[in-house]
Symmetry: C2
Subunit: 352 residues, 2 copies
DNA sequence: CTGAAAGCGCTTACAG
DNA sequence: CTGAAAGCGCTTACAG
């Protein structure tokens, strides 16, 4: 299927020079006479020769490849991160390979081992909300990885993690989401979040509570639910709120962990006979490509994930680890409406 | 940032054996005495030693890494392919890195060079519709790549491409889509496809025409439009049909190149005051995760992309190249309605 | 069951 | 400006 590739020896003998000289023209060193360079280049072309990065890596200090650890790629949120990292890496001739960190305990070929064996020039690890015990485990795995290569964290990175990172202050973001809902007149604001028992002080939860508190609104346990961030679970989350509460207590606004959850909420609301956005304002996060095409078009928060991925890759490639926080912005669309229009009698009001 | 890693020499001297012996226990050879094995394993653990795949690759014949060439990852369609390949690869300890083939002519660090340099164990290349001239160019690039590693093609692979492949018979699929619309009573069926001047006999175009022909329906040029497969272009595509035709000639059904295009069509239809699916049946392809959450939920075709990716990876890993066609199935949801129900007097329309 | 030695395909001082 | 040689971290016959 594959023919044997030419090596530097083939090229050298073809060109009548030593392999050291071939190596020099390959690396673009100026200390080669034009004549020699020409001969070597001709031989390279004739042989379709490409130096092996494998052999190069063994000698030099770089493998020209990065790793990225992501929960999964099917949520476009992660695809955006990957794309950002990949595009940045490519500029410098780096490739990036994916390692889904689904389980730290994969029996064989677990990501940590695969990563370590590969001697990558660095790895970007996306940190998700984790309950305290798993968080400890993650930290252990990360420190193990650090022995083999630079590690840069992205995502919701707790401030006490001692790693370079490009993180999101999810608390501040969620607080802003609550405040936005409040500014529309909402007081009954539900929240469908991620893992409950997390201890990260910057997690969404904290921002939700702070936002409510600042608006002097009660924090109602029945309005808060946790899930794993899929549309199905988002739907189940709002379902459970709507099913356990009498309609007069139903929230008039719901903030989803991410757009996937928000999509599920829209579905749930519709099945409960709610008109959107009249009866319920829904807000998501990640600003997925499909957000504008939902009905109503989903208001979301753009967290600049491509930039996050690119920045993390940059830190590794340039060897300039740092700790940064990525900014974000609310993207206004049609899924959030002022509470005025949410009144039951709004139907009788003049249509705008 | 990184401490020096232990090598096989460190482990050998720690354990008081030769590196050959360490290598043997590493590779799980049975010809090592339990006692020796134990000593070596202890040394490995103490040193946190992991063999370098780089060094291994130089000796052995495998790099334990695959490449995949995809147009982009932001369309979940491609993320599914990647995921399928990645999950399959991981089972055998292979990693997979992504090379977006945006341009064959990237000046530096073009994918073909990056791939060749890396001496991967194989590469999966996703073939898209291409106008004839670019197709020739692709073929040249692929043949170049083949010199360095096994190449497996996926996607809409023309039958005359001489490569192992897992392909989709897009013509048969599109024909089935047309027939489905016909079975619902539609006669004015629009089609928003990909590149126009492609010569592949299995392309969507061909199936569209065949489907129409079989139903003895005229093939109307105004109903056919081409685009690049984004929601924006899908919307622009249907816009142009709707804007240039008097309403009585408007299609009652539209088949999109993919779900992204179909999403754009839904948007366009709404902006033109059409009720969905009453006034227009819309069908997509790829069965993206968001299809069920659109309004109306989008009928689509599941082309089993994860399986495609997995199968291609398998061919490379097992060294069993083949030429296969992936099957597909229509996933029925709410965006297609019988022409009967398309009448203005239809009872339960979708409430916006 | 174990070790000494050659070799994989490069880069990099070191000489000249 | 160019070459001989050592070395990167492994695997794999080949001996014993």
């Amino acid at each position: 299927m594959t023919t044997e590739n030419a090596t530097i020896y083939d090229v050298a003998s073809d060109a009548g020079v030593s392999i050291a000289t071939v190596s020099r023209v390959l690396r673009g060193e100026s200390s080669v006479s034009p004549k020699t360079r020409e001969k070597v280049e001709a031989a390279i072309a004739r042989r379709h020769y490409r130096p092996s990065i494998i052999a190069r890596s063994l000698t030099g200090k770089t493998t020209k490849s990065l790793g990225i650890v992501l929960p999964k790629l099917l949520n476009p949120h992660y695809a955006m991160i990957f794309t950002g990292a990949q595009e940045e890496a490519r500029q410098s001739g780096y490739s990036v390979s994916l390692f889904p960190w689904s389980s730290l305990h994969a029996r064989e070929y677990d990501p940590a081992t695969m990563l370590a064996e590969r001697r990558l020039d660095g790895v970007i690890v996306c940190v998700e909300y984790l309950p305290p015990d798993q968080s400890e485990e993650l930290l252990t795995a990360l420190r193990g990885l650090k022995r083999f290569m630079p590690v840069v964290l992205i995502g919701c990175v707790p401030p006490d993690y001692d790693f370079p990172a490009v993180s999101l202050n999810a608390a501040a973001m969620t607080k802003a989401m609550v405040k936005y809902m409040v500014s529309l007149g909402h007081e009954k604001i539900a929240f469908i979040g991620g893992v409950q028992e997390d201890t990260d002080p910057l997690r969404r939860d904290v921002g939700y509570e702070e936002g409510l508190k600042e608006a002097k609104l009660p924090c109602i346990a029945s309005y808060r639910v946790y899930c794993k961030g899929t549309p199905e679970e988002g739907k189940a989350g709002l379902d459970s709120i709507l099913n356990t509460l009498k309609p007069e207590y139903w929230p008039t606004a719901v903030i989803g962990l991410n757009d996937l959850v928000a999509m599920g909420c829209q579905q749930s609301a519709r099945e409960h006979g709610l008109a959107l956005p009249r009866d319920l304002s829904v807000m998501g996060c990640d600003n997925l490509f499909c957000a504008p095409y939902l009905l109503p078009a989903l208001t979301s928060v753009d967290t600049h994930q491509q930039r996050v991925g690119a920045r993390a890759a940059q830190m590794i490639i340039r060897g300039e680890p740092a700790r940064e926080t990525m900014d974000w912005e609310i993207i206004h669309r049609d899924s959030c409406a002022a509470i005025r229009e949410n009144r039951p009698d709004a139907a009788n009001d003049s249509v705008i």
